[in-house]
Symmetry: C2
Subunit: 338 residues, 2 copies
Amino acid sequence: MTPVNLKSLAEQLHLSIATVSRALRDSHEVSEATKVRVRALATALNYEPNAYASSLRRNVSKTIGVVIPKVANHFFALAINGIEEAARQSGYHVLIYLTHDDYAREVAIVQHLKGGRVDGLLMSVASGTEDFAHIKSLKDTNLPIVFFDRVCAEVATAKVTTNDYESGYQATEHLIQSGCRTIAHLLISNNLSIGQFRQQGYLDALTAHGLPPDPDLVLNGVMDNEQNVVLIRELLQRRPDIDGIFASVERLAISAYHVCKELGRRIPEDIKIIGFSNLEAASLLDPPLSTITQPAYDIGREAAKILIRAVEKKKDILPSQSLVLNSELFQRRSTAAG
Amino acid sequence: MTPVNLKSLAEQLHLSIATVSRALRDSHEVSEATKVRVRALATALNYEPNAYASSLRRNVSKTIGVVIPKVANHFFALAINGIEEAARQSGYHVLIYLTHDDYAREVAIVQHLKGGRVDGLLMSVASGTEDFAHIKSLKDTNLPIVFFDRVCAEVATAKVTTNDYESGYQATEHLIQSGCRTIAHLLISNNLSIGQFRQQGYLDALTAHGLPPDPDLVLNGVMDNEQNVVLIRELLQRRPDIDGIFASVERLAISAYHVCKELGRRIPEDIKIIGFSNLEAASLLDPPLSTITQPAYDIGREAAKILIRAVEKKKDILPSQSLVLNSELFQRRSTAAG
DNA sequence: TTGTAAGCGTTATCAG
DNA sequence: CTGATAACGCTTACAA
C-alpha cells in the first residue's frame, strides 16, 4: 500500500507538493478550484498529515504533558478530564506521566521532556520531591509550565490552586463548632505546600478558638495505606481523648474510617471526621462523610487554558496569572453535632 | 541560548554529527574514548534528542494512544495506571483521549490518529458507538490496536476482557441464594458487548434457578446520572416486588442506593444490591456494597504489553492473543441473606 | 573508527 | 497563483 502523503497527493494531482500543502492549510494564495480538487482527493484517500514532520518543521507539537502523582484518585482523574477538555478544544494532545509520588521518577520524566516532545507542561509535584533543580532546569529550556494543586513555590510561573489555608481553617472550625475539643490533623508527609497551608489553617483555627495546638495530634501520613492504618490506630489508642479528625487527604480519611470501625469508635458520636475529598460516594458512606471538595475539573481546565494561551502567544507565563479557586465544605453526618 | 542538538555537540567536539549520534546510541563502531567525550558533553549540556526528528526518521514514535470513554471512573483510572506502568517500562509515552461515550468524538479522535502520532492504540469503545467503520479504517492503515473491556467484536485483533458472562451469572445466582426472587438488571444502554454478556449471564442464572426472566425488570441506563435516578425510581415504584438488583455498572449501583434511601427501602432487608464496581470505599458504604470487581490495573497492563510486544516486533496482532481475566465477587452486607 | 550525504514529510522562502 | 528548494534534527548507508 503506497503511503498517502503530500508527495503522493501532488503526483496524482499533477501539482507541486508546496501547492498541495498550501491548499490543505487553506492558504489564500491558492485558487479555489485547486483547493477543491486537492481537498477532494485528500478526503478520498483519508489523508492525515504526518504529525512528526509537521512538529519538526514548525517546532511546535500541539501536545501538552501532564505530570501527576497518580491517576487512580478522583481528584486527579477529574483534573485530567478538565485538562483534556481544554486541550481538545484547542486541538492539543495530552501526554500523561505518573510519578507515583516518587522523586526519581519525576526527575526522569522531566529530563525526558526536554526532548521537545511537548509544547508545555502541567504539573502537580510528587510528595517525595524536595529538590526542584530538575524543574528549574526544564524551565530554563523555556518550556512553559503551569503548576496545579501541588505547586512548586520556587519556580516563577502560574499556579492554579485552591484556598487551602481557608479550607483548613474552616474544616477545623467546623469541628470545633460541632463540639470537638481535641482535634487531630492527618496530612501527607513532608513539605508539600498545600499541606503546609492546610496545617496553618488548622493551627490558626485552634488558636482562634482558644484550643492549644498540640504537635502530638498532628500525624504525617505515608505512601502506604496499610501503614497509615497502623499509624492512625496508634494515635487513637495513645490519645483516647481525640474527638475530632481533620484529614488533609482523602485516603487518610478513609483509613480513619477503617480504624474507627475496627476500634469501635462511633462516628460522629465518639469522633467526628472531616476530610478533603472528591469521592462521589461520600454521601453514601456509613456515616456520610463531611468533605472539603476541591473543584478538580475546573482546576485542570483552567490550568490547561493558561498554559495553552501562553503556548499559542509564545509569551512567558507570569506568576501573576495564577488562579485560586475555592473549595466547598459539604457538611454531612460524620461531623453532626451531638 | 544556542540550542543543544547533535550539530552543536558535534561542533564543540570537533566531530561529525554522525559520530556523535552513534556515540550516544552506544554503537559498537565508535571508540570508547570518543564515546566518553561525547557523553560527557551531552550530559553537561543536558542534551536530550529531539523526539520528533527521531520519530520522523525512524517512523516510530515510541508513543501509544489510549482512547477511553472517561477517566473519572475508578476502573479506567486503574487501567491507565497499568497501561502507564507497562509503557514506562518499555520506554513508551502515553497519549490520552476521552470520548465521553460520544460516537462523533470517537470518530474524530480515530481519524486524527491516522497521522502517525502513535505506534499503537489501546481502546475501550464508546457506548454510543454502533458503526465501527472508523476503527476498521484505522486498522487498515496497519496501526496495531488492542481493545480492552469494551471491545469491538467486528475488528480482528486481540482483546483483553473479563469473564463477563460468568460474572453476570454469579452475581445473579448470589442474589438468588441470598433469597431474592424478583431481580432487576440495570445495564448501560445499547449494544456494548460486555453488557450483552452480563445480561446473558443474568438471564441464564434466572432460568437455571427456575425464575422466569421478565423484560420489564431489565433497565437500560443512560448517560446522565440524574436521569438514571428517575428511571430507577420509576422501576422500583412500578414493581414494588423487586427484591434484588444487579447493576452492570458502578454508577447505576450508586444511583440505586440513592433511590433506595429516598424511597425508604432498606438494604439488604427489603432489597439486595450487587454491582460491578472498582470503588475502593465499597466496604465503607451504608451498607457495604457487594461487588464484582474487575482487575482493572491488570487489564490495562496486559493490554499494553500485548500492544507493545506487537509494535516492537512489527508483527500483526492476532485475535488469538486475546486474554480473559477473572473478576472477583466480594460479598458484603448489601446482599446479606435475610 | 570517522565522515559525507541522503532522506523522513512537512513548511517557508523565494522566484517565476 | 504555482513551483522549486532549503531547512527542521536525526539516522543510516556508503565512503574513506
